[in-house]
C-alpha cells in the first residue's frame, strides 16, 4: 500500500490513476502555511478531526455525530448527480463541500478559496482509491488464503485489478457525464391550486403504493416513523450481529459502534442532500447511495418504480408536508 499510495505525510500515486498529485500534496501532511498565504495540510486542518487521517470516518470527533462522518474507504458517496451504480463527479463532491450537509456536523466550506476546494476533492478521491484498494487486498487474503500470489505478480495484479480499475470508475464518469449524470426534467408548472392539489394527491398515492415502499421507512404520514425502524447504511450493516470481542479484533475496520439510520421526517422540511425541488427529484430518482433509500427512477436496463412525472408528483407531496411549495 505504501509503495502505491505513500503515507499521509508524503502521498504517492501509481501512474495511470488520472489524479492530480500536486493537489493531493497540498491537502496532505501536517498543517503549515507559507509567506505567500498558500496553505498545506488542508485535509488535516479541516477534515481529519471527523473523517480520520486515513479517511476511515473514525476521527476523534466521530462519535459525536449522527450519522457518523463518511468513511471514504468504500468509495461510496451519498449525494450525487450520477446514477445509482456510478461514482460521483468531482463537482458532486465539491457541491457537498460548498453547501455542507444541513442538520449534520458536515460544514460548508464556502469560505475556502476554489483551489483549496479542488485540493480537498482530489484528496478525498485519493483516500477513496486507497481505501478501496485496501479492501480489495483484505478480500484477496480472505479468498485466496495460502494460495495468495506473492512478489512482482501480486503487485501487478493489485495495480491492475484494484488501483487502476477503481481509478477508471472515477475517470469514466468525468469523461462521459451525459451517460452517467441523471437529468432533471423541468418541474411541471401547476397553474392553479387545484392542479397542485391533484399533483399532491397523485404523489401521496404513489408514496403509499406497495411498489414504492416509501412508507415502510418514512411512515404513512411521512413523519419518519415507518414500521421498518431498524435500518442501517452500508457502513453499519457489517457491524450487525458482531460481538464486542469481534469488534475489538476488527478495531481498525469497525472503530465506531453500530449506529441506526433515521428515515427523514418530511414535516421538518430539512433534507441532508439539499431541500430544493431539484435536489429532492435526484434523491428519489438516484436514491441515496450506501443506504436503504433505493433508486426509484428509470435506470439503464430497468424501468424503475417511478416515471419522471411520478417523481415530480412525489416531490410535490413531500414538499406539501412541510408547507413548502
Amino acid at each position: 500500500m505504501e509503495e502505491f499510495f505513500g503515507t499521509p505525510d508524503e502521498p504517492r500515486l501509481p501512474d495511470g490513476t488520472g489524479l492530480n498529485l500536486k493537489l493531493i500534496e497540498t491537502a496532505a501532511g501536517p498543517v503549515a502555511g507559507n509567506a505567500d498565504g498558500t496553505e498545506q495540510g488542508l485535509f488535516r486542518q479541516h477534515c481529519a478531526a471527523c473523517h480520520g487521517i486515513t479517511g476511515d470516518g473514525a476521527g476523534a470527533m466521530a462519535t459525536t455525530f449522527d450519522p457518523y462522518p463518511r468513511d471514504f474507504r468504500r468509495g461510496t458517496f451519498k449525494y450525487t448527480t450520477t446514477r445509482a451504480d456510478a461514482k460521483p463527479l468531482r463537482s458532486d463532491l465539491r457541491r457537498t463541500l460548498l453547501r455542507g450537509i444541513p442538520g449534520t456536523g458536515m460544514p460548508s466550506f464556502a469560505e475556502l478559496p476554489p483551489e483549496q476546494l479542488d485540493a480537498l476533492v482530489e484528496y478525498v478521491i485519493y483516500l477513496s482509491l486507497r481505501g478501496e484498494t485496501e479492501q480489495y487486498l483484505v478480500q484477496l487474503v480472505v479468498d485466496e488464503g495460502e494460495y495468495l500470489p506473492l512478489g512482482v505478480d501480486a503487485k501487478e495484479m493489485v495495480l491492475e485489478d484494484a488501483v487502476l480499475w477503481v481509478a477508471e470508475q472515477w475517470a469514466v464518469v468525468e469523461q462521459n457525464p451525459q451517460e452517467y449524470v441523471v437529468p432533471v426534467p423541468p418541474r411541471p408548472v401547476c397553474g392553479s391550486d387545484a392542479e397542485r392539489a391533484a399533483s399532491i394527491a397523485r404523489g401521496k398515492e404513489l408514496y403509499a403504493s406497495k411498489d414504492a415502499q416509501c412508507a415502510q421507512c418514512h411512515g404513512p404520514t411521512g413523519a419518519g416513523d415507518g414500521e421498518d425502524e431498524r435500518i442501517y447504511d452500508d457502513w453499519n450493516k457489517p457491524k450487525k450481529g458482531v460481538t464486542p470481542e469481534q469488534t475489538a479484533k476488527l478495531a481498525r475496520l469497525y472503530t465506531l459502534p453500530l449506529q441506526r439510520l433515521r428515515a427523514r421526517d418530511f414535516r421538518d422540511g430539512a433534507f441532508h442532500g439539499g431541500s430544493s425541488p431539484e435536489d429532492l427529484y435526484r434523491r428519489i430518482h438516484i436514491g441515496i447511495k450506501g443506504t436503504p433509500m433505493p433508486a426509484a427512477g428509470p435506470q439503464p436496463g430497468a424501468k424503475g418504480v417511478f416515471t419522471p412525472e411520478d417523481i415530480w408528483d412525489v416531490v410535490n407531496y413531500i414538499l406539501s408536508l412541510s408547507g413548502e411549495k
Binding site: G33, G37, Q45, A49, A58, A60, T63, T64
Partner: protein, 414 residues
C-alpha cells in the same frame, strides 16, 4: 516586623498599579489573538521562530505582515507577546525595587518567569513539533527503566552498612516502590510530551493563568488593598473565601478541559472528544452552582464590601455570557444536537467553516473564559483581604496568636 504596605511609597504603588493594568489590558487582546491563531490554524503560517520567515521578528516588512491573513495573525500574536513581555519587565522592576512586600517580589518573579516560559512555549509550539517528532530519547520504556534503575542504585547506596538483613530488605523494597513510582511518573510525563499537541495545550493553559496573575497584580497594588480599610467581620468569612478560591480553581480546570477539547488530535481514539465534552459540561454545571452559592453568601454576609460584591456579580455575569458562548460555539462548530432538533425545533442549519460567527463565538469563548478566571482570582484575593472571622479579631481562636497575626487586619494595623 515593619509595616510593609505603608513603607512602600504611594507613587511607586500607583505606578505599579498602572503597569499592572497595562499588563492586563495588553494580555487580554493577546489571548484573543492566540485564540484566532488556533481558530484559523494559523500557527504554522510562520514556520520559524524567533525569526519570521527568516527576518528579524521586529524588522519583518510591514507589507508582508499585513497582506496575508494567517501571517498577520501569527506574527501579530508574536509582536503583541513581545509587548506583554516588555510590560511585564517594567512591572517586575517596579515591584522589585519600589514595593516592600515580599509577596509582591514573588509575584513579580513568577510573572517574569511566566512570560518567558509562555514565549518559549509558543516558539516550541512552532518549531518544537519538528523536534518532538524526531526519535527523541523520549521513548517511554527506556526512560522508565533508566529512571527506575538510577533511583534504585542511589537509594541502596545510601543504606548504612551493618544493618540487619530484615531492615536491608525493607529498604530494598521501599527503594523498589519509589523507583517504580518515579519511573511511572517519568513515563506519564514523556507520554504527555509525545502528544504532538501537548505544547499547544500547555501554551493555551498558561495564557489564562498569566492573565489571572496580571489581575492579581492589579488587585494587590490598588490603593484600597494597601490602604487601611478594615475587613468585615463575618462568621462566614472562611466559607466565602473557600468558595471564591474553589470557583477560581474550577474555572481553571474548565480551561484545561477546554484546551484538551480544542486541541484534540485527529488521530486520537474517537471516545476522547466525547470524554472531554462531557467533562467540560459537568464542570460547567459545577461552576454554576459554585457561583450561585458564593453570590448568595457574599450578598448575605459581605453586604458592606462593594468591592467584593462587584467582582462576584461580574463573575456571575461573565460566566452567564460564557455559557451562552459555549452553546453558540457548539452550534456554530458542530450544528444543533440531534436530540434538540428531534424533540424541540427542527432547524435546517448548516455549519459554515471559518464563518464570521464561528470564528467570533469560538474565540470569544476562549477570551471570556480567561476573563472569568481573572475575575474569579480577583474575587478570591479580595475575599481574603476584606473578610475575616470574628474570632480572629478577638485573638481567641484555638490556633493561637500566631494565626491571628496573619490576618489582613493585623497585618495592616501593625
Amino acid at each position: 516586623m515593619p509595616n510593609r504596605s505603608n513603607s512602600t511609597s504611594p507613587i511607586a504603588i500607583r505606578a505599579a498599579h498602572y503597569a499592572a493594568w497595562l499588563l492586563a489590558c495588553a494580555t487580554f487582546p493577546l489571548i484573543w489573538m492566540g485564540g484566532l491563531v488556533t481558530t484559523y490554524s494559523a500557527g504554522m503560517a510562520v514556520p520559524d521562530w524567533p525569526r519570521t520567515h527568516g527576518d528579524n521578528m521586529f524588522l519583518y516588512p510591514l507589507g508582508s505582515w499585513l497582506t496575508v491573513w494567517d501571517v498577520f495573525l501569527e506574527h501579530g500574536h508574536r509582536l503583541l507577546g513581545s509587548l506583554v513581555g516588555l510590560v511585564t519587565i517594567a512591572l517586575a522592576a517596579l515591584l522589585w525595587f519600589r514595593d516592600k512586600r515580599p509577596a509582591m517580589w514573588w509575584l513579580a518573579g513568577v510573572a517574569l518567569v511566566g512570560v518567558c516560559l509562555q514565549g518559549v512555549l509558543g516558539g516550541l509550539r512552532v518549531v518544537g513539533s519538528k523536534i518532538f517528532e524526531t526519535e527523541i530519547f523520549w521513548t517511554p520504556a527506556p526512560v522508565f527503566l533508566s529512571v527506575a534503575a538510577a533511583l534504585l542504585v542511589l537509594t541502596v547506596q545510601a543504606v548504612p552498612a551493618g544493618q540487619s538483613g530484615r531492615r536491608q530488605l525493607r529498604v530494598w523494597l521501599r527503594a523498589a516502590v519509589v523507583s517504580v513510582l518515579f519511573g511511572a511518573l517519568a513515563w506519564f510525563g514523556i507520554a504527555a510530551v509525545e502528544d504532538r499537541l501537548f505544547l499547544a495545550k500547555v501554551h493555551g493553559c498558561t495564557a489564562p493563568m498569566f492573565f489571572a496573575l496580571a489581575a492579581s497584580a492589579v488587585a494587590a497594588t490598588s490603593s484600597r488593598w494597601v490602604g487601611d480599610s478594615p475587613p468585615t467581620e463575618t462568621p462566614r468569612a472562611r466559607r466565602i473565601q473557600c468558595l471564591t478560591s474553589l470557583g477560581a480553581a474550577a474555572i481553571y480546570v474548565q480551561i484545561v478541559l477546554g484546551a484538551n477539547l480544542r486541541h484534540v488530535a485527529p488521530d486520537a481514539a474517537p471516545w476522547w472528544f466525547t470524554l472531554w465534552v462531557w467533562l467540560h459540561v459537568i464542570v460547567a454545571c459545577g461552576i454554576v452552582l459554585l457561583i450561585v452559592w458564593q453570590y448568595l453568601a457574599a450578598r448575605r454576609h459581605a453586604g458592606d464590601q462593594p468591592v467584593l460584591q462587584r467582582r462576584i456579580s461580574l463573575m456571575a455575569g461573565l460566566f452567564s455570557l460564557q455559557l451562552a458562548l459555549g452553546i453558540t460555539t457548539w452550534i456554530t462548530n458542530y450544528g444543533w444536537p440531534l436530540w434538540f432538533t428531534q424533540n424541540f425545533v427542527a432547524v435546517e442549519y448548516t455549519v459554515v467553516a471559518e464563518s464570521f460567527w464561528q470564528v467570533l463565538s469560538t474565540t470569544a469563548h476562549v477570551g471570556v473564559g480567561s476573563l472569568c478566571l481573572a475575575t474569579a482570582t480577583s474575587a478570591a484575593l479580595w475575599s481574603k483581604r476584606l473578610l475575616i472571622p470574628p474570632s480572629k479579631v478577638l485573638g481567641v481562636e484555638k490556633d493561637g496568636a500566631k494565626k491571628a497575626q496573619a490576618t489582613p487586619r493585623k497585618r495592616h494595623r501593625k
